[in-house]
């Protein structure tokens, strides 16, 4: 019986975490895993912090992950990685996008955005830093940043053998499939040893 793997995806409303987790779970289901995925709707399009949890294995019970139990944390925004770091296993891996989005409180000057958040993260846990926005823009569509990060996740979770082409085709408009396939590959390459 294969043990249950836990994935945390976090970011800011509008960054495409939900689409990335949809593509991920489509491929996992097609590969025969039991899959559960949890996200909270409602406030997400108002620039709030968002987190999606994906669990897969032979049999999954809880749709949500406890603290200290994610195998991987993929943060679509730099500071958000620190917000959800307590969800990660001590020997887990954090993938962080070098992309900063100010918050209402940092814009108004009530709080300061922690400039060294990625450096701090590196001292705490095995961290892979990606400039997914730059990679995606170079490939021709800055909006496929989320798929670059998904590619990194696939590589690090050793899920390359799954049918990603089918998962992309199922969830993305045909004219965007090619650029996103490239984005996925670029994301995998970015974290290759």
């Amino acid at each position: 019986m294969s043990e249950v793997k836990n994935i945390l995806l976090c970011g800011v409303g509008g960054q495409g975490t939900i689409l990335a987790s949809k593509i991920l779970s489509t491929a996992l289901v097609a590969a025969g895993y039991d899959v559960k995925m949890s996200e909270i709707h409602g406030m997400s399009q108002r620039g709030g912090s968002v987190v999606t949890q994906v669990r897969y294995g032979d049999k999954v019970y809880s749709p949500i992950i406890g603290k200290g139990s994610a195998d991987i944390l993929v943060s679509f925004e730099a500071m958000e990685a620190l917000r959800y770091l307590d969800g990660l296993k001590k020997d887990g891996v954090a993938v962080v996008n070098d992309y900063r989005i100010p918050t209402a409180t940092t814009l108004s000057g009530q709080e300061t955005y922690p400039a060294d958040c990625i450096e701090q993260l590196k001292t705490l846990v095995n961290t892979k830093v990606l400039d997914a926005a730059k990679i995606a823009t170079e490939l021709g569509n800055s909006k496929s940043m989320n798929i670059v990060l998904l590619g990194a996740l696939i590589k690090l979770m050793k899920l390359e053998a799954l049918d990603w082409d089918a998962a992309l085709t199922d969830n993305i408009k045909p004219r965007f499939v090619t650029v996103n396939r490239k984005a996925l590959e670029a994301g995998m390459a970015a974290v290759a040893e």
Binding site: V12, G13, S25, T26, V29, D34, V35, K36, M37, S38, E39, I40, H41, G42, M43, Q45, R46, G47, G48, S49, V60, Y61, S62, P63, I64, G66, K67, G68, S69, M79, E80, L82, R83, L85, D86, G87, L88, K90, P102, T103, A104, T105, T106, L107, S108, G109, E111, T112, Y113, P114, C117, Q120, L124, V125
Partner: protein, 590 residues
């Protein structure tokens, strides 16, 4: 075929499979997507109702006429629908009727975390509680069968985690058409006291029969594992218990949760050393089990506040905790949801905040993210303001407090119209404001009676808020563009100048709204963006005071910039800039 579905998508699929003919709802997180998904099945006549009471009544009507029917709402919506639910329980059904209540433990997007399992007990109707999406789909069909068999509406109780989690669902079943049960005039449809007395007797008898069903129902089953610990659980809490105990406990899994199968519970309890009731929120099963003389552990260990999760169970029952990475989380800045860039509410609140001695009485919608003094429930904005004003007016401390009641367009149609009538009828002097952003925005853009479109996006009558107010007797009505702060300021002064109720309507579409042709004709195509001229910007931060998330102040250069992707060119910042450093131009294709 197997597919990953949310609980809400699964409920919609279950309704389709079970031959539901009519479905109605008022949107509310976490229930909204149930009707949005039902709307994709052409065989089901589905609609948005102005509120949950109306949705439930319409579904009851469809059921009496013989069609299988469904109404869906969030937990607080069932408070609104409680009146037809209770008498509907006496009358029973003709075609099967299922009422979905989506509770929100943890208050992800709600004003309270009431436990609607109490409603099954109070109204005396059966209740089912799915634990995952497969059960959410299957339970709809079972609920409809039970509704017809036991002549009562059945409550399907979901929670946020069941509604919004995805799990695998078998979609091999097709729709079974259920032709309407022939309608015949029956005494029970007319609950006058003499008839209702008999109906009450019927309810009690049906509940007894339902209790027997609960004892033999395949939805209530035992899974044997280690017998030292026996766990009784339902809904998503069952999944958490399995996660924590696995094979190290035995389970009595309850899918049909009212009435409880007390014989089955007693037999299960007798075969385990220690009985634990794992339930989210209130100790409802625990109290009933204890009242039946069966000892069990429950809320003395498991909290009754907030959402449960495996960690909480592990900690409260086993005293164990996962090791986590230790770090200083205090450096992480808060990221609260805010009014979006370009939100038309921003201009209104920008001016309102400047007024002195004003008490802002708001209610439920996006505008709840703006500063306010008081809020309670949908449609409460005017009536709460009215009651408060009566007391403030009786004070004689020299400074007159003025109440401004606020609600949105959808909220006005939901239950604000009676609230407005209260103010008119009882000679109020409050200022009422309807923030009309041409859509039900908070729940993700649903149509409402003011948008001119139905759930199926077919054209319908566009109810005019000013006309409604006029008919209710409001004499002073003004409509403004909320993104024109000078106009808003004038209108607020105007609105406070009466000793009668006045109505201010702010009319501008939500910044995220998919514009219809009618919208474009009225408001233009709105393809603008605002930009800062750094030569003119003096870094005074007047524009920051609007609270727009697209504007950023840079301490190093002492200038502001505007994020061109977020900006919708609403032009509010340009109007508050004292140096005219912000200008507006046509948006290039991005």
């Amino acid at each position: 075929m197997k597919q990953l579905l949310t609980g809400n998508e699964a409920v919609a699929r279950g309704a389709w499979e079970a031959g539901v003919r009519y479905a109605s709802a008022y949107p509310g997180t976490p229930s909204t997507e149930i009707l949005e998904n039902i709307a994709q099945y052409r065989e089901i006549y589905s609609e948005w109702a102005p509120n949950e009471k109306v949705a439930t009544e319409s579904a009851i009507g469809a059921s009496f006429a013989g069609g299988r029917a469904l109404a869906a709402m969030k937990h607080v919506g069932l408070n609104v629908a409680a009146d037809p639910l209770f008498t509907g329980a006496y009358i029973g059904v003709n075609g099967g009727l299922v009422i979905v209540s989506a509770d929100d433990p943890g208050l992800h997007s709600s004003q309270d975390e009431q436990d609607n399992r109490y409603y099954a007990r109070a109204a005396k109707v059966g209740m089912l509680e799915p634990s995952d999406s497969q059960e959410a789909k299957d339970f709809v069909g079972i609920a409809l069968e039970l509704s017809e068999q036991f002549d009562m509406p059945i409550l399907l109780r979901m929670t946020t985690r069941v509604c919004h989690s995805k799990s695998i669902v078998d979609l091999s079943k097709e729709r079974t058409e259920k032709p309407p049960v022939p309608y015949a005039k029956q005494d029970k449809f007319n609950p006058i006291p003499a008839i209702s007395k008999r109906l009450h007797t019927k309810v009690e008898q049906n509940l007894k029969r339902l209790e027997e069903y609960s004892e033999s129902s395949p939805l209530n089953y035992v899974e044997w594992g280690e017998k030292k610990i026996g766990i009784i659980s339902s809904g998503v809490a069952y999944e958490y218990a399995k996660e924590v105990y696995g094979e190290n406990a035995s389970y009595l899994k309850l899918g049909f949760t009212f009435p409880l199968p007390m014989r089955k519970i007693r037999e299960f309890a007798a075969r385990v050393d220690q009985l634990i009731v794992v339930e989210e929120l209130e100790p409802i099963m625990e109290n009933e089990i204890k009242a039946a003389g069966i000892p069990c552990i429950g809320k003395e260990k498991i909290p009754c506040e907030g959402e449960l999760n495996p960690d909480i169970l592990r900690q409260s029952l086993l005293g164990e905790e996962h090791k986590t990475i230790r770090y200083d989380a205090s450096i992480v800045a808060a990221r609260p949801p805010v009014l979006c860039a370009g939100c038309p509410h921003r201009g209104f609140f920008y001016e309102l905040q400047k007024m002195k001695n004003v008490i802002t009485v708001s209610d439920i919608g996006c505008y709840g993210l703006a500063p306010k003094d008081i809020a309670i429930c949908m449609g409460g904005g005017f009536s709460v303001a009215h009651g408060a004003q009566k007391i403030f007016d009786s004070e004689s401390d020299g400074t007159r407090k003025r109440c401004v009641g606020i609600m949105g367009d959808s909220t006005f149609f939901h239950s604000g119209m009676t609230s407005m009538l209260e103010a008119v009828y009882n000679r109020s002097d409050i200022l009422m404001v309807v923030l009309d952003n041409r859509i039900t925005a908070m729940t993700g853009h649903q149509q409402n009676p003011g948008t001119g479109l139905t759930l199926a996006e077919e054209p319908t009558h566009m109810t005019d808020i000013a006309e409604v107010a006029q008919a209710l007797g409001v004499k002073h009505i003004r409509t403004v563009n909320p993104l024109k702060p000078d106009d808003v300021r004038d209108a607020l002064k105007w609105g406070m100048g009466f000793d009668e109720p006045a109505l201010l309507i702010t009319r501008w579409p939500c910044a995220l709204k998919k514009m219809t042709q009618t919208d474009i004709e009225e408001f233009g195509s709105l393809r603008f963006v605002n930009c800062v001229d750094p030569e003119k910007c003096i870094g005074c931060r007047a524009c920051i005071q609007t609270g727009c998330p697209a504007i950023e102040y840079h301490a190093d250069s002492k200038k502001v910039t505007i994020d061109q992707i977020q900006c919708t060119g609403c032009d509010l910042c340009a109007q508050v800039c004292p140096k005219h450093a912000i200008f507006r131009e046509e948006k290039q294709n991005v």
